[in-house]
């Protein structure tokens, strides 16, 4: 699944311990041996920052009092970085001072544990932080997923297409974007009922998802419209792939209405090298190609090669008959 790689991890959560005292690392490892977690150790703030970037831990246990880069500085660095700001940080300190606690919470710490650790307290606080992190990750992901089809939703597409177009401009690679629209979808709903229409949308989503590559990004754009972002794919490959999808969809026999096949119209906009096109213009070009496909008879793929600059119905791939 496209979304599978970013599901909250079912493997053991990773906990990064940043503390300058080797004793603390030894103690924590012994104390947390029974927990289902993986512990990574850093003996300085600077090393901790490096590990943080390399391992993306689910939780950080952070000592405050360290020479050179202290815990407050590390905490600030974690919370100033958009990629790490969501990782919960439990501050460890021997200083039971209200001022330090307030500063730590102000900087975004999730919790505070006084050394020496009370074993049970340590365990439940770590578990609580990991549970919260898991739920937050799940929530963030749910908010980006279409409930009916399980594909990425429109909001996710809008963000992701910006990223992908920007990336292709920077790195001189190919990119294609395809819009799919189910033909005469309203009549399926009207004739066979909305549950049948929903089953079609789920089925289309499944086919697009299953047949696209791991790196492709399949989204439900809205209504009966889907969109597929295909990184590192030029217009010719995108066209060939989309036409295979079109044929597969056409061949499906739907359990709720075996007598009624479903076809899709597809508009593709692609380029093999970056061309200074904005994401909005790219999307518009694909949408226009879809419109052309609809207008010229449906159940077909129309390609716009953004380098050639105009929409051209793909003659050899147009549906015969």
């Amino acid at each position: 699944m496209t979304t599978g790689s970013e599901t909250p991890s079912s493997t053991r959560p990773r906990v990064l311990v940043i503390d300058d005292s080797p004793d603390v690392h030894r103690l924590l490892k012994a104390r947390l041996k029974q927990e289902e977690i993986e512990i990574i150790s850093s003996e300085s703030g600077e090393a901790g920052i490096v590990e943080l970037k390399a391992h993306r831990p689910d939780l950080v246990l952070l000592d405050l009092d360290m020479p050179t880069m202290d815990g407050f500085e590390v905490l600030r660095a974690i919370k100033d970085n958009a990629e790490t700001v969501h990782i919960p940080v439990i501050v460890l300190s021997g200083l039971n001072s209200a001022e330090d606690k307030v500063s730590a919470f102000d900087l975004g710490a999730h919790d505070y544990i006084i050394k020496p650790f009370e074993l049970t307290e340590l365990r439940v606080r770590i578990r609580a932080a990991l549970r919260l992190n898991f739920l937050l990750k799940m929530l963030a992901q749910r908010a980006q997923i279409d409930g009916l089809t399980g594909l990425w939703n429109r909001a996710y597409f809008d963000r992701r297409v910006q990223d992908e177009v920007a990336r292709v401009q920077r790195h001189d690679g190919a990119l294609s974007i395809a819009f799919f629209d189910a033909d005469h979808f309203k009549s399926i709903n009207d004739t066979f009922g909305h549950p049948a229409g929903d089953a079609v949308l789920q089925g289309l989503g499944q086919i697009i998802q299953r047949d696209s590559r791991q790196s492709d990004i399949a989204c439900r754009y809205g209504g009966e419209e889907f969109v597929l972002i295909m990184p590192a794919t030029g217009p010719a490959d995108a066209l060939a792939f989309c036409d295979r999808l079109r044929l597969q969809i056409e061949a499906v026999v739907w359990p709720r209405h075996p007598e009624r096949r479903v076809t899709v119209s597809i508009g593709v906009a692609g380029a093999t090298t970056p061309i200074g096109v904005t994401a909005a213009a790219w999307v518009e070009a694909a949408d226009k190609a879809l419109y052309t496909a609809k207008k010229s008879g449906r159940n077909r793929v129309v390609l716009t090669d953004l380098l050639a600059g105009h929409a051209a119905p793909a003659e050899p791939l147009r549906k015969a008959g």
């Binding site: 005292s21 603390v24 103690l27 012994a30 104390r31 009092d65 021997g94 050394k115």
Partner: protein, 109 residues
């Protein structure tokens, strides 16, 4: 402090804790080296490093179940935190001696 005149052995709060036995043993074994290092830093007037070492011992001793050692190390650390003038040297020396004595009484089991 109620620990000054005692000579009886000092046991870890975690002496009966199976998870900790090995770690406590290791800590107690390494303790004489730590004390030597502290005394060396004191003689050489390397106060920054002494403060660091006392700080670490404070944390470690607490973690291994020796709160009185932790507290004693904390006294050393606090004195150094304030800065050491000629007047404080003897005070500091006696705190370090006290800490060393206490460490000498620690036993693994």
């Amino acid at each position: 402090m109620g620990t000054g005149n005692h000579t009886e052995p000092l046991r870890s709060r975690f002496a009966g804790d199976a998870e900790m036995v090995e770690l406590v043993h290791e800590f107690v074994q390494e303790l004489p080296q730590r004390v030597q290092a502290l005394q060396g830093l004191m003689r050489a007037s390397h106060f920054d490093e002494l403060r660091r070492a006392a700080h670490q011992l404070k944390g470690a001793a607490g973690g291994y179940g020796f709160p009185s050692i932790s507290e004693s190390a904390s006294h050393v650390e606090k004195l150094l935190h304030a800065g050491v003038g000629q007047a404080e040297i003897s005070d500091l020396q006696s705190r370090v001696d006290e800490l060393a004595k206490l460490c000498g009484r620690a036993v693994a089991a």
